[in-house]
């Protein structure tokens, strides 16, 4: 039997059209389910985009720093020693830990405590934190270069006096609309050239992050007379678990500095991968929750459709009996009921999908118009695969909704057609 059967579709429209309110209310259940699914998943995607945007592009960075005095005597050395890192430690990490892809020392002024550095541009000035930078710093921190460029390898090698400044630094030192790139500023009395401006994408700490300047780390050390290294920034090789590399580095540093392996408070560390995986788990949880809620709602709608189809079958018992007497097979009766059920769910669901997508797209446009959305919510969207899955859920729910009514219809005894009304 052909799917595009004019008589069949006329019958379906005729049956549904005779009970417009009933059909409409039934269809609303499915419509609402798909609408909810679309909006929940779209909003979930917006939340995911917002949270992931807050992460730096490199999601497995390891930071290691010296954080406390030794508390366990080790190899004849007393307790109470503070560790000072050196450029040789950077080299040791690079050479001795095979899983390390990238390592840099990082120093700072007025970032982790103390006062910032006094920065002057003509008649304007301010006090800002200064961090050591390196090629790729914009990938390791939650930041986007919005003007000019980042610090590059040549800046590092030649210890150039260049600065990548936060946009709040720019706003304080420069007039609105003024060209910043190539302009000189003085940091603690030494002239630097601005090569780029960045904005922070970090959640919750954006303002403070943008009140900072990045200088090539060795330039910073020289400028501020810091012979040692404050902390390490490390990227493990692809496919390597950051946690394993983090432990290896701390073990290496413990050996080099003669710190007991059991003295846990001496070296502080943090790896982004753990944070990212935690947030990823949360996002997956939210996604699953959205599907469960929405599919539950769709199935509730499908139960409504199934209920109405049962009533329809009851009402049409005589008609079904007649059709069977005239030669309709049970299979053709099942197909007839299924088509009606799937038609209601597909139409209602399609409308829900379209309206849900329309709403999400509208919100996305509004957010974009107002500057890219809130801190935790960016660019909500319903992707194509989600729409396809929603469509599959629709058809499946339509089929499931029709199973019992179709079975009832197929079981109608054709003798009822012979009985007097």
């Amino acid at each position: 039997m052909a799917l595009v059967d004019v008589d069949k579709w006329r019958e379906i429209f005729s049956t549904l059209g005779r009970h417009k309110l009933r059909t409409g209310l039934t269809a609303f259940g499915v419509f609402w389910g798909i609408f909810m699914l679309t909006v929940l998943l779209g909003a979930g995607k917006g939340f995911q985009n917002g949270v992931i945007d807050g992460f730096p592009r490199a999601r497995n960075t390891i930071f290691v720093w010296s954080q406390g005095a030794t508390q366990i005597p080790y190899e004849g050395l007393p307790t109470g020693r503070f560790m000072q890192f050196t450029p040789e430690d950077v080299e040791a990490i690079r050479k001795e830990i095979p899983t390390v892809a990238f390592v840099r020392g990082q120093n700072s002024v007025g970032v982790w405590g103390g006062s910032g550095s006094y920065v002057v541009r003509k008649s304007k000035s301010g006090t800002f934190g200064v961090s050591g930078g390196f090629a790729g710093v914009e990938d390791i921190n939650s930041m986007r270069v919005i003007d000019g460029r980042s610090i590059n390898a040549l800046d590092e090698q030649q210890r150039r006096k260049v600065a990548l400044i936060g946009q709040r630094v720019r706003d304080q030192l420069f007039a609105p609309g003024e060209n910043v790139i190539g302009q000189d500023i003085t940091i603690s009395g030494i002239a630097f050239t601005v090569v780029g401006v960045y904005r922070s994408t970090q959640d919750g700490n954006q303002q403070q992050e943008e009140e900072r300047l990045y200088l090539p780390n060795d330039t910073l050390r020289k400028t501020f007379n810091q012979p040692g290294i404050g902390s390490f920034v490390i990227l493990p090789k692809e496919g390597v678990q950051a946690k394993a590399t983090e432990d290896e580095i701390k073990a290496l540093l413990a050996r080099r500095k003669k710190v007991s392996p059991d003295d846990k408070g001496v070296f502080g560390s943090f790896n982004m991968q753990e944070q990212f995986e935690k947030v990823g788990g949360l996002l997956t949880g939210i996604n699953i929750f959205s599907w469960v809620v929405a599919i539950g709602t769709i199935f509730a709608g499908a139960v409504g459709v199934g209920n109405i189809m049962l009533i329809v079958v009851k009402e049409r018992t005589r008609e079904i009996g007649l059709r069977k007497a005239l030669g309709a097979t049970p299979g053709s009766i099942v197909w007839m009921i299924m088509q009606e059920s799937v038609f209601i769910t597909a139409m209602a669901g399609y409308l829900g999908l379209a309206l849900g997508t329309f709403l999400i797209e509208g919100i996305a446009k509004l957010l974009n118009a107002s500057g890219g959305g809130g801190r935790f919510f960016t660019n909500p969207q319903v992707d194509f695969s989600t729409a396809l899955v929603a469509l599959a859920v629709l058809v499946v729910s339509g089929v499931l909704a029709s199973l019992m009514p179709a079975a009832k219809a197929a079981a109608v005894n054709p003798i009822v057609a012979l009985q007097d009304e």
Binding site: M1, V6, D7, E11, S14, T15, R18, R318, E319, L322, R323, K324, A325, L326, G327, A328, T329, P330, G331, S332, A410, N413, P414, I415, A417, L418, D420, E421
Partner: protein, 228 residues
């Protein structure tokens, strides 16, 4: 055309099975016009259901157009009804949302006949029953007699071997009854086998043979020379 031998039918209601047909023997020749009569509870409806392959029987043999009717599946029964049998009902049983031609074409739909061919054949049979000007009328726009003519056209359209008419004039006035009987006799005169179940003696008298059921058995079966 139809041979029933020692047909028994039981209905299981409560503890005791109800023995409705108690060994019916019946032979209906091809092209015969017969009436089946009987009082209420005689087994008339049960016999009609079995003849129409709408119900099964518990014992005996039934041969329809040379085909043994045994324990058929529902699908096979449906196909067999569609191919070999045409039904005319007391209450017409037209689908209210289909016009006259679409109602007539319904058995062809279940044969998988294409839309154009269905329409052509339906219109041909509506012409035959004298409703060429009512093809697009909906059932509620037709009189009782016209509805029954549509139903007769529907019974004929798929070219069945046997037409089973269950009280075909039961819902009609006497004038229309005569018109419908005239139409049925005309159809019979073209070589169709017709079985009419009726309780109206006037109708039965117009058939070639009256089969009277009593207590689940064929009581009498006699030919009526005046109708033949």
């Amino acid at each position: 055309m139809i041979t029933l031998h020692d047909i028994h039918k039981y209905y299981r209601t409560g503890d005791q099975p109800l023995h409705v047909l108690k060994g019916v023997d019946l032979h209906i020749r091809e092209g015969e016009l017969v009436a089946i009569m009987g009082s209420s509870g005689s087994g008339k409806s049960t016999l009609l259901n079995i003849l129409g392959v709408l119900d099964s029987f518990d014992r005996g043999t039934y041969t329809l157009a040379g085909q043994a009717i045994g324990n058929l599946s529902e699908t096979d029964s449906a196909r067999l009804r569609n191919r070999l049998l045409g039904f005319v009902f007391q209450s017409f049983n037209l689908l209210p949302f289909k016009n006259a031609a679409e109602n007539v074409a319904l058995p062809l739909y279940y044969q998988g006949v294409g839309r154009k061919e269905r329409n052509y054949r339906a219109e041909k049979f509506l012409d035959m029953v004298g409703l060429s000007d009512r093809k697009t009328f909906m059932p509620n726009q037709l009189s009782g007699g016209q509805k029954q003519r549509v139903a007769i056209a529907r019974a004929l359209v798929a070219g069945p071997k046997v037409i089973l008419a269950d009280e075909p004039t039961g819902a009609l006035d006497s004038k229309t009854t005569q018109e419908i009987m005239a139409l049925l006799k005309e159809i019979h005169s073209r070589g169709n086998t017709l079985i009419i179940v009726t309780h109206e003696q006037d109708v039965a008298n117009q058939t070639e043979r009256q089969i009277i059921l009593k207590d689940g058995m064929v009581a009498t079966s006699h030919t009526q020379p005046q109708a033949a």
